[in-house]
Symmetry: D2
Subunit: 328 residues, 4 copies
């Protein structure tokens, strides 16, 4: 479905080439100061067209708040936010109307629904993440007032960890009509202990679902992640001190509940499937055909995923903060 | 919370040393043949005490079906299943009543609830997974009738991939009073295309949440997982043919929706935190103390996680099958 | 919260004097023809300003579909619909900024949230029902294709059951600066048997919640309703025939599940609390004050509730139709 | 489905003639004292066989708490409670195996599921309410500590309001092989203002759904209920004073949110459909047949519904109390 969260619940709508994309937040506490200026800067960070390395689709993505605010404060009513789609070159997408782009959702949407808005990926477009970032901005503001800060960073692009080398990898990919993937790490500092629930509502389970629900993400790790599989228990356990822990292999989560340490999440981002290089695929009639995906596509989606992953982390934490309020 | 799934919804209860552990299934289709014999063999697979390499707690774990069955068939009513706890050596746990075991949920439960059933980990015990496996057995039977099969296997233990070497690693850990982790891969064959929903209900997001919600799991990958971060798009995209795909880097999921290929998930399992080796920790009064966790603990939880991970995969797929029924 | 339904799930937003009111539908089947022309006529029925007997606030309430439609058909993606607020005479509401209107949500919103958009009732305004009617129009279209029809009618106004007398009661109330209530009956014809679930998901329970959730409704009956309390079982049971039933005291629902007979629901609508007559109340400072509620208010909300109640019945039935699809 | 509530969430299981009936509570705050002695007295109130006027099925209905309690206190983990079925005279039900009892769920269950546990009504039996009452007992204890008290009373039986006359009506019905209905009123005193949510989560909507979800209930009223339909606004509005309200026509709820006044709910209970009198019905083969429902049935279910309705009111209020905790 298109809703996320139990207490700070967001519902997302919109397609790449429809009239608008947006989000409704249900469950935001009343009395919190909120204006468009709290939202717009975060949307600007995920906006395309800001550098040579990202998609050339250049839209201003101005957010409008439609409800839930009265005299500059939240009222407890749903906060609806919307961004009009402006720069819709639908004609660019004529070729993919009938061809399934490899690595894309084209084939599976067609199988699932029997109908598909092919223009720019429709609902599966990265433009859907606008709603997440707008809602995440509200959560980030709320968490910030509780001294919880969220930061994301790129750890690697195509195997390189040096920023200059990362950039070079992307430029090389552009030249080759190809694309590259990478790894992003998101950290929350200042989380109180006690967030998350046992069994199916574990904080790490919520985070894994949230992160894997971002398009292009194929792996999620908490703390030491896959490295734990090669370790001894005596190496991996974090010894306790009077004031906390001596290490943070656990990534700030024990038994699915935050420990008060930094919450550390890493995600694997696949190379953008839309590439100019010729690939083999099928069309909707069953014929094997060749495809070169034109249009304005990011050669590496990693930088633009950072604010989206930050937003998802904020949404999960805020939801858990409100959940925890019931327990006290 | 303690419920999982939207359509085939399970609710779990019970602690390691309470009266019983169990599960209620809500939403199982009516008219399906079901007896204890469909459930018990899967519970036996996760049972401890079956080899030298697993915990010595030897319980028969006999499941009782309390409701939802009439003359050998499901009626559409909730199916409650229960296993009585028998072998509860609570005195073994006297030492950990006041000490937080490193790597365990002891500290975080205490912080969250202000009260904690310390005996055998209470609610955070692996015994909670009995309910998942019992419910998973029902899902596995349902899926099997639709020609969907689920298999799990151990890919590595403490970095070793050869079975004999894996066993040797576990025995060495036992000798050292230590424990080791590993990697498990779970695969579903025969999935129809179209399972999963866009945006927040993606099949991979559901799977990531399901798997990370198993205690001891610290990482989840779909298809090529973290390896995609070092690849070109032209390498990672799966070309299509008339009948399907030429490769399966995507792990059977595109845009969050199953493609008809094998669904492939890998999980990283941490070394059991309960070890005999002396570790530093804190007690509930704030003193730094030493702890050696005695009792009957698995030196490596990896083998016993396999049936649990299979159960979670089955639960997710069955839930998506029922969800998909609404779309047609 | 502001969402309703499990399978055909709507989320509502907007205040009387905010930028817009609207709704998102999540879970509408794909491939269904849908245009603004399917929605607008139903909105027009609930529109104020259409007669002397209803509020003079005259807005065109033109709905815009923001997402979820491609080439005239639903795609399975969320359908967002919005109506801009135009005719906002906020100055009319200056007096009620500080005074709690008797019979209104003013006091309880202030207590709950500590902040309140007083203009036209804010979120508690009847304008919120626009979203319900827009979403209900989609459900009505879907049900109609399954030969299920929904009709509502006014049974009584201020105790009168003759239409001319009802109108006279309303005019008299206007003259007196007062308001009157009434009773509405909504019927669904053509429902298949099997809709609704046992125990907490009973069709009548869903309907009762749906109807009582319409502002101004203070009572709900199914079938013979309160009259059953004075009857013998032998009078109230509906005898069965080869083809159905000899009577319909049950209102089409047995054990919470539709029987195939007409589903019959009645609701009691209170007199509009906003009246010109002077009443005693309190202001936000705790002073006892007098109030005469000016502005443009319906002397009798009963006629405008009919399309809202029809919409709620349609939403419940469509949700149950999709739920039932999982059972087959 | 078989779950109820968002924050204090209960899941019910069991059939009249299965192994057991019971309930799981998920979301009970930790640290609350709780023993079987808090539950058993309320179950005893709804127990059959306690007077000549109720069913002769005489079971002790001893509840067992299976989980969620440690050293006499709740731990925050799910509280599973179970009552074994003992007195199952299944042979009494041989006749109704093939005949649909008029006024019962037999026909609709058969239509919905294609299979039906006919023994004593199976899942649709009043025995299912044991779980509600057991869970309600926990909520009542919690509310009581917050000075919220819940009381139910019988207002009428078969149109009579005097207790002696009510009893006479029931005895006359027994003599005639018939049954009678009645009206129950449930009141909560001490509710703080602010409980309930706007739009679809209104307190009155939750209560209406909760009450109509009790078998045999055909109508629900809040405050003055259906009587509002014949009143003027000036009569129905409750004027405010410095300390509260001058009257309580609203039944303690304004705009779906509690006002701090008594919350007053009335329900209409139908006459028990199981009667000895001969009625016309159909069998599962489509033949028109006669039926006289033997066995041990209440001639009037009204007295036994009182504790069930109290439980449902308590469950809704506790759920809203926890929901409200998130808003502060």
């Amino acid at each position: 479905m298109n809703s996320f969260g139990r207490n700070f619940r967001i519902t997302s709508f919109g397609e790449s080439h429809g009239a608008a994309v947006g989000v409704i937040i249900d469950g935001c506490p009343a009395g919190m100061k909120l204006t468009v200026q709290d939202i717009q800067p975060l949307l600007d960070r995920r906006r395309p067209g800001t550098s040579l390395l990202t998609s050339l689709r250049n839209e201003m993505d101005q957010v409008e708040i439609l409800s839930g605010i009265f005299e500059g404060k939240t009222t407890g009513a749903p906060i609806a936010m919307m961004v009009r789609n402006e720069n819709q070159k639908s004609k660019d997408y004529a070729e993919i109307r009938e061809k399934f782009r490899p690595g894309h959702a084209d084939f599976t949407y067609q199988e699932k629904y029997g109908i598909r808005d092919h223009r720019g990926g429709g609902r599966s477009s990265g433009r859907e993440t606008l709603g997440r970032v707008a809602a995440g901005a509200v959560a980030i503001k709320y968490l910030s007032a509780q001294s919880i800060t969220i930061t994301g960073k790129i750890l690697a692009v195509h195997g390189k960890t040096d920023p200059d080398e990362m950039q070079q990898e992307i430029l090389s990919a552009v030249d080759a009509g190809d694309s590259v993937g990478g790894v992003v790490e998101i950290t929350a500092r200042g989380c109180p202990p006690g967030l998350g629930d046992p069994v199916f509502g574990k904080l790490d389970a919520l985070l894994a679902g949230a992160m894997m629900g971002i398009g292009a993400v194929k792996g999620v790790e908490i703390g030491d992640g896959f490295a734990v599989s090669g370790k001894f228990g005596s190496e991996n356990n974090d010894p306790m001190t009077r004031d906390g822990f001596l290490s943070n292999h656990a990534g700030g989560i024990l038994g699915g509940i935050s420990s008060g340490q930094d919450v550390v999440v890493r995600i694997a981002v696949k190379p953008t499937p839309s590439i100019a290089k010729i690939q083999q695929t099928r069309d909707i009639h069953g014929n094997v055909v060749e495809i070169s995906v034109g249009g304005r596509h990011d050669p590496c989606i990693v930088p633009r995923i950072v604010p989206v992953a930050e937003a998802m982390l904020a949404l999960v934490l805020m939801d858990c903060m409100l959940e925890q309020a019931k327990r006290r």
